[in-house]
């Protein structure tokens, strides 16, 4: 019989500043070697639960924690400070902020130093942990020089080095691009085969995790335990409930829901019955030339880019991190002048435009919406540029109210922008950029780090805007978005434009993987179906 590693009994957690408890009367236990998923809507206290399990609470808690949390049969608050790290290790969501040292090896050693590991075995353990995650080649590298995916691997190595029995991953891939995300999950699968540890994963996106995780714990928005049992069976039947919590289901399950099929729902692309799926073939509406880039160079980052954007297009710019996507879009939007070459809008060079005129034509939504906020209320934020354009008050109040409604921010007028939820912040930053009815809107990774609900809210908003004639240019890593919305896609590779054409032409190319790109799930499914049909076809 396997042994119980964690036991939670009647756990209720309250924060001082809030009336309602974050977690309410949770009872469950976890056995050695289990692979468990923790699901719940945003704000359901999943991360707070992590803090309870690794002993950070009640020590660092401003509030009250009732009930018992036992790790290895011992109450977490009876462990001496710091010793819990040997039992429960956590990898957090944000790759930027979980390190305190400069180089990879120092960071991995940091945890071991805290545990008073003798020097000789520490050196060995650092090497071993880096080998386990496949980062031994970066041992002496600066952490800041690594990509997001590599940083998360290092974060994992830091925890593995301390050899805890329980490994908690708190949305470990939320800030990674799809390819890095896939790699990270693969790595965990391999580690699970090589080492013995209990795995707890908190996630918003289920794609890729299903092969690894067997049991699921669902916490509802009141912080109560809603379900505890096998993951696959539950998902096959209750996928809709999970979807409504804001969890992103795997493509196959999502499609089944969209198509209105009945349970049991398929979980993998291969399980989708071979029926015709709706083709996403965006209408091609090549209007007039709007923005033309000619022989654009920038520092050593961009080299000789020529491209023309037309009215009514929905462009996607894709490519590996560091391939120059953001730099290019900033030059196109006139935020940064190119070092060589020129960009012209409506046939007139950007440098001849007055800044204020240009801003009426082009909007740009930055990756972090907070960076763009300049006033103290949601209302003022949207009204800002109109007030400065010297418009009549009656007119701009009407526009502001319309825009707020359009972006579903009505009712939040007096809130401080920083106090909004992630999705609301993103929609507010879009609102500020469309309020002057700009012709062209740039978005830098608009769905990055957002949950399912805010992603779909945002995309439907953009779709409506596009249908009303706005040209949209989005930088993204998400091939599903490209497949679903883009009419044209640009692939950047080491500062050069390596592809320019329709999405379906891109999917047909054999060298996708070289550009750190993957096929969108719809294409994967199509190919899976073709493969299945092929032998039958030959035999007939």
């Amino acid at each position: 019989m396997s042994q119980e590693v964690i036991r939670v009994e009647d756990l209720t957690l309250r924060y001082e500043e809030r009336q309602k408890p974050v977690l309410s009367r949770l009872t469950f236990s976890i056995e050695e070697g289990e692979n468990m998923l923790i699901l719940g809507p945003s704000g359901s206290g999943k991360s707070s639960l992590t803090h309870c399990l690794n002993g950070l609470y009640p020590r660092e808690l401003d509030g009250a924690m009732n009930g018992e949390v036992l790790v290895q049969g011992q109450r977490t608050d009876s462990y001496p400070a710091g010793e819990m790290a040997q039992n429960v290790g956590v990898v957090f969501q944000d790759p930027e902020t979980q390190f305190c040292m400069i180089t990879v090896e120092d960071e991995v050693a940091f945890g071991l130093e805290n545990l008073n590991t003798p020097h000789a075995s520490m050196v060995e353990k650092v090497d071993q942990a880096l080998r386990q995650v496949g980062m031994e080649a970066y041992k002496t590298a600066d952490i800041s020089s690594l990509s997001g995916g590599q940083k998360q691997k290092v974060a994992l190595a830091c925890i593995l080095a301390m050899e805890p029995e329980v490994l908690i991953l708190d949305e470990p891939t939320a800030n990674l691009d799809p390819v890095a995300r896939k790699e990270f999950i693969q790595l965990l699968k391999r580690l699970k085969e090589e080492l013995s540890f209990t795995l707890l994963v908190i996630e918003h996106k289920l794609e890729g995790w299903l092969d690894l995780l067997e049991r699921v714990l669902i916490i509802n928005e009141k912080g109560e335990l809603a379900y505890d049992g096998p993951l696959h069976d539950h998902l096959k039947t209750y996928a809709r409930d999970i979807h409504e919590m804001g969890i992103q289901l795997p493509y196959a399950t999502r499609t089944a829901l969209e198509q209105g099929w009945t349970p049991p729902y398929p979980l993998h692309i291969g399980d989708i019955p071979p029926v015709a799926l709706p083709e996403n073939r965006p209408v091609l509406s090549a209007g007039k030339a709007l923005l033309e880039a000619e022989a654009v160079h920038w520092k050593s980052i961009l080299r000789n880019i020529n491209v023309t954007f037309h009215e009514g297009e929905w462009m996607a710019i894709v490519g590996e991190n560091g391939s120059g996507k953001s730099s290019f879009s900033r030059i196109l939007a006139g935020i940064q002048p190119p070092s060589k070459g020129s960009v012209a809008m409506h046939g007139r060079a950007l440098k001849k435009w007055k800044e204020s005129e240009m801003r009426k034509e082009v909007g740009y939504v930055f990756q972090n919406p907070e960076h763009q906020f300049i006033t103290d209320t949601v209302y003022d934020e949207v009204a800002f540029s109109l007030q400065h354009a010297g418009m009549k008050e009656a007119e701009w109040t009407r526009i502001v109210e319309e825009t707020l409604k359009f972006c579903r921010l009505d009712g939040l007028e007096d809130q401080h922008p920083f106090l909004l939820s992630q999705g609301q912040k993103r929609r507010l930053s879009v609102a500020t950029m469309i309020v002057e009815n700009q012709n062209m809107l740039f978005l830098d990774e608009p769905t990055f780090g957002q949950d399912e609900k805010s992603t779909s809210d945002l995309m439907s908003l953009l779709k409506e805007k596009h249908e009303n004639g706005t040209t949209i240019v989005m930088i993204t890593h998400d091939m599903e978005l490209v497949d679903k919305y883009a009419t044209r896609v640009l692939v950047m590779n080491e500062g050069e434009l390596s592809f320019d054409g329709q999405p379906k032409e891109l999917w047909a190319r054999p060298d996708l993987g070289d550009h750190h790109l993957e096929l969108p799930p719809r294409e994967q499914w199509k190919r899976a179906v073709l493969k299945r049909e092929e032998p039958a076809y030959v035999s007939s």
Binding site: E83, H119, V126, S356, H371, Q372, F373
Partner: protein, 259 residues
């Protein structure tokens, strides 16, 4: 190279000691000779991009010259002796030039010593050495290290905020008042981000078992070895020789309320 291997605490204390002693010297010749010596040591026993050294050195030179010039021009003329020299087409009392040069060169001597430390020391090693040799509490030391990591992140964030505000149509500020308002606008997202980052880092550190306790082992043990003492012996020895030289040729003077 040799300078990079010297224990950072020993190096820092040597530099501080040399600066302290030089502060009592009030003639131009001793610091001048010592500057030559320090620069010589830095370039021969250190490896770094020489170009950057020059960049860092320029502001100190300007500051030193400013010090020299203001001392000459605004000196107390009542104590003027008969001797005078001609400089830039103007007549100045020799004694004033002498005092001014002593002040200017002293600034430069401090600068070259600091640059020696800066260009040959790994900041992380320095902090680790402070914990291990001078018993700096880990709570403070690792906090400083985490903050040191944040600096470049804050810089990129600042640039992003500036670009993001520009696109909102916040025009370039014309007056002081507007400029102040603009920095206030920058400060809010920057601070909000920094506080959130700091909190997350603190939680991550604690989750890795960091308690701030003084008993901990070290992945990079910083030890003071016998060869580390060569550096202070060399630096103080040369300071002694320089002073002896100045005394022998009659240039030397202690600080004795000359200003």
């Amino acid at each position: 190279m040799f300078l990079h291997d010297v224990n950072p605490t020993v190096k820092a204390l040597t530099i501080i000691g040399a600066v302290f002693l030089l502060a009592f010297v009030f003639d131009p010749v001793t610091p001048l000779l010592y500057i030559v010596w320090t620069v010589f040591v830095t370039f021969v026993f250190g490896t770094f991009k020489k170009r950057y050294y020059v960049y860092y050195f320029i502001p100190f030179t300007l500051f030193a010259f400013g010090m020299f010039w203001t001392t000459v021009v605004f000196s107390d003329t009542s104590t003027v002796t008969a001797d005078s020299v001609s400089f830039l087409g103007m007549e100045f009392p020799t004694e004033d030039i002498w005092t001014a040069a002593a002040l200017g060169l002293r600034v430069l001597a401090f600068a070259t010593l600091s640059l020696l430390f800066l260009f040959t020391t790994n900041m992380v090693h320095f902090i680790l050495s402070l914990i291990q040799q001078l018993k700096l509490p880990p709570k403070i030391a690792y906090g400083v290290l985490a903050g040191y990591r944040f600096l470049p992140m804050l810089k990129t964030e600042f640039q992003q905020i500036r670009a993001a505000h520009r696109i909102r149509g916040v025009n370039r500020p014309d007056s002081w008042k507007e400029k102040l308002l603009q920095y206030q606008r920058f400060a809010i997202p920057l601070l909000a981000g920094a506080i959130r980052k700091a909190e997350r880092t603190a939680i991550a550190m604690e989750s890795k078992g960091f308690t701030g306790a003084k008993t901990r082992t070290f992945y990079r043990p910083m030890k003071v070895q016998r060869k580390d003492w060569l550096f202070p012996v060399m630096m103080f020895g040369m300071l002694g020789i320089t002073i002896a030289f100045s005394v022998y040729f009659g240039y030397f003077s202690w600080y004795d309320g000359q200003l």
